[in-house]
Symmetry: C2
Subunit: 299 residues, 2 copies
């Protein structure tokens, strides 16, 4: 029953987000190849987890989800740009993403670099343009959203995490080093989604603190599940190769802690994520189901 509910919730939100994403891209005055490249990766599917978290926070706090759409879309643009750049030959050198050619394979490297740059830039412009005169969101909140997103997406956040990940390649990482990478590379953008949703919902400090904790916990849990799926997932379902981490001797939770301890940590993190929300008075929300989804997902 819970699974059915979550599945239909996710489907509904994914449909909404995927309707909004192309509307947020400007086409007029953009060189066609650049526009096509941006759209190709933005519309290449995916879980749309970051935008859904924004909408779910607003709903959990009793506010209309609509006001979160520009911020939600911006987060997905930033997530997409990071995938395009991470896939480049100079970075992870991946040919496939979600079963489709990566951006630089479909277009070329120069176009992929520029499409990433343009998506990152558009994310901030879209937030600013959308909330410049908005009936429900004031400009002070818009500036807070941009400051938070900029902090979490940049050198102190996601980009820093990617740098540490690249520097760690081919080295035996400690658990602390691995968690630094995950906290920043994956966790920070999830936290930006949750705190941004909180700002938009005018959450109080206790609620913001619990959304922060929830984000950090499901961020790590998400990564542990990714590592587990790389060991025992199904390549066809995942749309990417399985066993590639072990092949590359990449540091993962299973490689550092073993499978059983990784599963234990995963379940504890998900429990913590739900507990912190409940303690802050956020009960029975889709956020609870989303935390469970992190563990139950098979792709």
């Amino acid at each position: 029953m819970m699974t059915v509910t979550l599945t239909s919730y996710l489907e509904e939100k994914i449909t909404l987000v995927e309707q909004q994403l192309p509307l947020a891209l400007e086409e007029a005055g953009v060189p066609e190849r650049l526009y096509e490249s941006m759209k190709y990766s933005l519309m290449a599917g995916g879980k749309r987890l970051r935008p859904i978290l924004v909408l779910a926070v607003l709903e959990a706090l009793g506010k209309p989800a609509e006001r979160g759409i520009p911020y939600a879309v911006a987060l997905e643009m930033i997530h997409t740009y990071s995938l395009i750049h991470d896939d480049l030959p100079a970075m992870d050198d991946d040919d496939l993403r979600r079963g489709k050619p990566t951006n630089h394979k479909m277009f070329d490297e120069a176009t992929a670099i520029l499409a990433g740059d343009a998506l990152l830039t558009r994310a901030f412009a879209h937030i600013a343009q959308s909330y410049l005169s908005h009936s429900e969101v004031n400009t002070a909140t818009a500036v807070k959203l941009i400051a938070e997103l900029g902090k979490r997406a940049g050198a102190t956040g996601m980009v820093g995490g990617q740098m540490a990940d690249i520097q760690g390649e081919g080295r035996q990482l400690t658990l602390d080093e691995l968690e630094y990478i995950h906290h920043h590379k994956t966790g920070d953008l999830l936290v930006a989604a949750l705190l941004g949703g909180g700002y938009l919902a005018e959450a109080n400090d206790e609620q913001l603190a619990s959304l922060h904790t929830y984000g950090v916990s499901i961020g790590l849990a998400f990564q542990i599940q990714d590592d587990i799926l790389n060991v025992e997932g199904d390549a066809a379902t995942l749309g990417k190769a399985v066993g590639s981490d072990a092949e590359k001797q990449k540091a993962t939770y299973p490689s550092l802690l073993g499978m059983d301890a990784s599963r234990d940590r995963l379940h504890r993190l998900v429990a913590d994520a739900k507990d912190t929300l409940t303690r802050a008075g956020i009960a029975n929300s889709a956020l609870h189901l989303l935390a469970d989804y992190v563990v139950s997902r098979n792709k």
Copy 2:
């Protein structure tokens, strides 16, 4: 006398901007190599034209230049990121920039891509953080600055211009195509500097329109002078090779119009730039001297 005045004006502003730039980079929590790479390119010299324009607009309109510093610094971060990415092997493949190794030569390609991404992200975060609670600049103005900068720096602006430039390589461009590239690749960020300075100075619509025209004019003029210097400049002064455009059969003003017509157009644009300011009541400002500087500069 005018030259002496402008030289000391530029020196004073460059000193101010170069003091502020490293302060705007966060170091704590950033992987050292990423921080060093960002700082290397940000502090690698240059004319600092975009930040100086912001400060000059504020002064020309009788407002304190200090309030423009965060926006000025953000513009220079965006300009710097665009140079780092443009120099990459997949793009222009340059080994030297201002007589020093380009970022990917000094570090490596992955680091250069990430340093560019982080500088771009930091630019928006820095504007938002700096103006979130500022005694002279309200949050509505901050949002306008971010919207304008995002529009001018992204797919409809600078990134679009770079894409068109890459697509035009090895093709004989028309003058219209060449001007599309320059308007966006160079002009748009100058316009963002001028309009942003105008917003910060609470300029009226006539003043904003004239700042816009001024920006478009000096942007093109700047590019024509670049093309001329590539034909007859001094390699040592420029810090880069001369004659490279002709060697690459690159479309330039001299190649399309000839040297005499290029010089005529350059001088007419500079005269237009100064006239539009004067007509809007902005007289005797450093902006007039800066327009002349575009023509007189030898690097």
